[in-house]
């Protein structure tokens, strides 16, 4: 079976439907925790944060995603900084991990699996149509053994951060407005969707299992290139991290 888990369009498509849950459900809890979260998280003191994977696209009028390397760089810096600042409030000593050649392949392997795990979590523990009751009631997902990485960096847990942002071009925004205007006359509003902003964070302990996972998404209201906008989204997300006793 060949799955391109990096397909940004599949990811966006998934997020569009998840957004509908976030918008119309009655403020559902958006984070997921491992059954042994309480006892295991209390043992974590210095998690390492892997370099965040943030993609920021310019979304054109015609729906074409144009990956902007300059925006990706800014988005990545903002997300990383915002997560770091938000987690500093917790009883953790966070280290930002710098990947070198020695560990690069192992990390790529783990990140490839994490992408598949993250998509599976979103589909089967968030989306009502595709819920797997066993996974909802017993949230156990793993990225496999992480001791090699933990040993190298002297960390006792890993934080994964992923970000995705679509910034509508002026043309696309004009089309959205036009859709509303035309709709006033025809009675049917046809317009392109707003760009999606989404961030997910996962805390993985030495077993490789995800202790805590959270996802936040917004349609058109956020911008990862703007630190304040990014931080408000991240703070909302990390704010839901259960209080823990040190």
């Amino acid at each position: 079976m060949i799955i391109n888990t990096k397909t940004s369009q599949a990811f966006a498509f998934l997020l569009v439907s998840l957004l509908s849950i976030f918008m119309f459900a009655c403020a559902p809890k958006t984070y997921r925790t491992h059954p042994e979260f309480e006892q295991r998280v209390s043992k974590i003191t210095n998690p390492g944060m892997l370099p965040s994977d943030v993609r920021v696209y310019e979304l054109t009028a015609g729906g074409v995603q144009d990956l902007r390397d300059d925006w990706c760089k800014i988005g990545k810096e903002n997300v990383q900084k915002a997560v770091y600042e938000a987690l500093k409030q917790r009883p953790f000593k966070i280290e930002q991990l710098v990947v070198d050649k020695e560990i690069e392949e192992e990390i790529e392997d783990i990140q490839a699996l994490y992408r598949a795990v993250s998509l599976s979590i979103q589909l089967h523990t968030y989306n009502p149509q595709f819920l797997f009751p066993e996974k909802v009631n017993h949230f156990v997902y793993s990225v496999g053994p992480v001791d090699k990485i933990l040993k190298k960096y002297g960390a006792d847990a890993i934080i994964f951060v992923y970000g995705f942002d679509e910034i509508s071009t002026g043309g696309r925004k004009a089309l959205q407005v036009a859709g509303i205007i035309v709709g006033a006359f025809t009675g049917v509003v046809v317009g392109p969707r707003a760009g999606i902003t989404a961030v997910s964070v996962a805390l993985v302990d030495s077993s490789g299992e995800i202790l805590w996972y959270n996802l936040k998404a917004s349609a058109g209201g956020k911008d990862l290139r703007d630190f304040d906008s990014c931080a408000s989204m991240i703070n909302d997300m990390i704010g839901e991290f259960p209080s823990t006793k040190k």
């Binding site: 902007r68 990706c72 043309g171 004009a174 036009a178 035309v182 049917v188």
Partner: protein, 395 residues
Amino acid sequence: MKLKIILLILPIILFQIGCASTDLKPITTGNFAPETDERGIWYQVEEEQKALNRSGVLYTDKELEEYLNETARKLYPNSVLAQIPFNIHVIKNRQFNAFAYPNGHIYVHTGVLACMENEAQLATLLAHEMTHVTHRHAVKGFRNLKNKSAVLATLQVTFGGLGGGVGDLVSLLGTFGALASVYGYSRELETEADIEGFKLIKEAGYDTLESVKFFELLKRDIEEEEIKQAFFFGTHPRVQERIENYEDLIKSDNRKSAKSIINAEQFLAKTLKVKMDNIFLDLKAGRFKKARRAADNRRELYPNDAKVYYLLGKIETQERGDNGIERAINNYKKAISFDPSFPEPYRELGLIYLKQNNKGHATDFFKQYLSLSGETNDRAYVEEYLKQCKEGDKP
């Protein structure tokens, strides 16, 4: 009334959306600096390349790669190569294809190398792909896509609310029209790559007649693979048209070239291994005609090559043609005669005799296979066959 209002609004929206320019100077004109969206494409391409490098799909043959890169370097002056450091790689794939990333990394399938006959044909391919890079076709194609899809989206917004299926019809035609022209590179960009590529091979002293032969090979491949649209070089223009384009280019080019390089000998020496490996890929894909042709060509050049006879035997066995088994047996025996230490033909003969219920012969050949092959992941099968022969079971 509704229509009048929509037609009033439409030009305003189109003006707002704007159109990205597809008029870009080639890198060869000097002072190249990538534009914003071009940098975004390169960034994405680098991610794609990392994935490709990790995937195990690259064909490793250092000598072959060096030769391909050496040939590519003959096509451009150093001043251009300094701006775009071209890098040619090979991909394990039996299909007749090659593609270029805008950062100068070009990937050539084993399938296309296996079909080629000489360096002049290789130069035709490389010149074409390198032109896609130097003339920035990736960003032009991408801008074209953005422009067309923007227009389409505008039409959908303005007409989508109308009744009577008007919106549906527009969107149907619009989608088909937009996609048809952006699938692969557009006809215009492919033609530019053909014309500029032709100039390059001519300047480098290659025999331009070989460029026509190259497209003849592509045409043959399309017919054999029963491909409705040419996979290679995009879908436009159609291959016969391109053959005629090259013929016209040759006719209209009055300059006499001092050289007329074909360089078949060196090309065949450097592509010996990849051609053989690609025969195995064609065999796995059940493309027996192609595999047989390639194996026959190889046998002409290397009449004592045991592996070729083994392959010919496999083709006969798997194609299941009339009298195929007899021909298979002959080929396997020839393979053994040229290299008695090559294990695989023994195995195949063992299988043939097993199915013919000739247990004595089957046993002999299977035992020889096991003694020659050492650790092999099909040992369990062969041991099972030997057991069957001993117990007198029919397979």
